[in-house]
Symmetry: C2
Subunit: 405 residues, 2 copies
């Protein structure tokens, strides 16, 4: 939580942090400290145990105020950027601006820098700041900010719940459309033609847009054999047929920068026994995991329980690799149980083998076991949940129905 920034700075003997960049887009650290989206970014400077300062462009000023994350907000113009451009040129004005800010704000000692920028710029900036006498630090991961971001405060959980709700609405509307589609000799029909994955994906995109969500990394809607390949996004020309397995994994981002991650697996119509067994196994594993997870347990322990259940049902798991029994696992449960979600779609903590840290209240993770049979199909069920001292607070409110009849 951002409330932890000072503690982390103290622990690491970092006197100040600066987060900067020309946009908050795709920059979780800058978005985090600023509180939301600023098209032209800004410079955030915070000394240990002091209130932060945000310097931004005139154009973003009113937006920056709206986020209420930083009280002291000033503009580049107020800090004399235009004069520095005249004096030093475009390329060197910015480091001088930073130098001025650091000096006036009495920033001394080690300063850790953050924010996504091109390496050309970052390396030059570090050199220039060092020449101005600033002790620049590039922190090792997990950095102060990654550590702070790892646990979410109430406001963040609320936003993650809102994004999960909106995402659920999109999933629900797609499931309803599929359920009600005309069928002809086992094929789903749209406007007299066979429904394809491409057609459904266009629908998903429209629904996401209408809800104010974007999916920069796409959406998985995979049917039949392609649903058994974890990273297959779905083949656009594939036809949607009754009884065929579908994995629908959706991971959109809201305008605030927060993501959500939900997977439902199902068939339209009736499933065969093989598919049903896959679903029952994964459903049992996921339910058990949701019951087991809470503050204090480890990612490794949660992973082991899921492997126990899946192996008991006769499928292989990724544990075979850790036990030296196999080099790769094709069919079975061949990925990890979950990952953190927040201002990125994949961050700490990880629910996986070798992860022995205790989970903490306020962490938000996916819980997503899956079992896949190569050349046949797969099932994965995924919710995004918040860890609490009493168990999980499931942010996803959405049925797990297998047969859409």
């Amino acid at each position: 939580m951002k409330e932890h920034l000072d503690v982390e700075m103290q622990k690491r003997k970092i006197r100040a942090i600066a987060v900067l960049g020309d946009t908050t887009l795709s920059d979780p650290n800058l978005t985090y400290v600023v509180g939301g989206n600023l098209a032209r970014g800004g410079v955030y400077v915070k000394r240990m145990n002091e209130d932060p300062l945000l310097v931004t462009s005139n154009l973003d000023l009113s937006t920056a105020r709206k986020w209420h994350r930083v009280k002291r907000i000033e503009t580049y113009t107020e800090w004399g950027l235009e004069k520095l451009v005249k004096k030093y040129g475009h390329g060197k004005a910015f480091p001088h601006l930073l130098g001025t800010i650091f000096e006036k704000e009495r920033v001394k000692g080690k300063v850790a820098l953050f924010g996504r920028n091109d390496l050309a710029y970052g390396i030059r900036l570090a050199n220039q700041l060092r020449r101005l006498g600033i002790e620049v630090v590039g922190e090792q991961s997990p950095t102060i900010l990654e550590t702070a971001r790892e646990t979410k405060n109430r406001e963040e959980i609320q936003e993650l719940r809102r994004v999960a709700d909106t995402t659920s609405k999109v999933v629900e509307s797609i499931l309803k459309i599929l359920r009600n589609m005309k069928r002809k000799r086992g094929h789903l029909q749209v406007a007299g033609k066979r429904a394809t994955v491409g057609r459904i994906k266009a629908l998903i995109s429209s629904k996401l847009a209408a809800e104010g969500l974007v999916a920069p990394e796409g959406t998985i809607f995979a049917t039949g054999p392609s649903s058994s390949e974890g990273h297959n996004m779905g083949v656009l020309s594939d036809e949607i047929k009754e009884g065929r397995l579908i994995v629908f994994d959706i991971f959109p981002q809201a305008e605030t920068g927060y993501w959500s991650d939900i997977t439902r697996s199902f068939v339209v119509g009736r499933a065969d026994a093989k598919a049903k067994r896959l679903f029952e196994t994964v459903y049992e594993a996921q339910t058990d995991s949701l019951d087991f997870l809470r503050e204090g347990v480890t990612g490794e322990a949660a992973m082991a329980r899921v492997c126990d259940i899946i192996e008991r049902r006769g499928y292989r798991t990724v544990r075979d690799i850790y036990r030296g029994k196999a080099k790769t696992v094709n069919s079975g449960f061949n990925h990890s149980l979950g990952h953190g979600v927040g201002l990125t779609i994949g961050e700490r903590p990880y629910l996986a083998f070798m992860r022995k840290d205790n989970l903490r209240s306020g962490q938000v993770v996916t819980v997503e076991p899956g079992v896949y049979l190569r050349k046949y199909g797969g099932v994965r069920i995924e919710d995004t949940v918040a860890i609490t001292s009493k168990g999980v607070d499931n942010l996803v409110y959405l049925e797990k129905e297998f047969e859409l009849t």
Copy 2:
């Protein structure tokens, strides 16, 4: 053009360039050298006058091959990443991997680094590479890659034309909807209710999504007084009325990473004389500019011509500031004429005062004069065009109709 990389490296005495990052999303330099989108990014290394090498994840391998930009594509696993993780841990494995690549590829002398990464990572990486004996350079802007990206080759122009076409289709469909909307006492109606900017924006989002475009920076759809404020995205609750000025500025990005930028200004129904005069002025200025621009002219000269036309019609322009006649220009033409478009929505070259470089064939720029009357409304007309030796190749094929009747 990428064909210029070696020349630029020679000029600047840079022996090799490396572009790296964990995703191509929002990273124009990495997208450029890789040729398209790679969800998990990669490491691109190119020595002067040698073919480049791309190292990427197993998961992105088939996608990377699809882009045809790099012939030699190998995987992190082939380069021993997993072993380096075991030996050095997650945080330090990557610089060692880079060190190995540089060594095996016989990279010596100055290496310029690129690619969007967090500053914490970039600064640490530079330190670690220097410790491995590599002469790391953070280039001043315009960097080798910015210079290469500034002129587009045939393949890029083709893609920019495709994105402009698709964007035009979206604009056209929205104009058609507006033109055909029921009107009641001067208000446009949707499903029996007054149409609002919010409603139209939702439509725009849906249409963009259906065309496979995203608009990470939003879309301007501003009506009445808010259309006179250049950076007002439009007030969602504003009602769409007959005869009221509308500025519709759309700047989406395609999956390939390329952007387009188009503005149309219009009224639904009939306009008053004041609005008509604004439109005629801007239309004349834009047409003149499209005729004037070509290889060899400067941004400054183009800007001056546009100011001449607009001032002749009795409006103020930003030139007043350069002439010391005013500190700010509120009403009138108060921004610059255009900017480059490619893998970013704002890049070199700039059509503005103080820009005295000759335009070159292959540059792609917006041409977007506008005149605004505070508290009344504004008009801006914008196309995205390619510069050639004979004039401009307008990538936008879309009418400039003022009154939608």
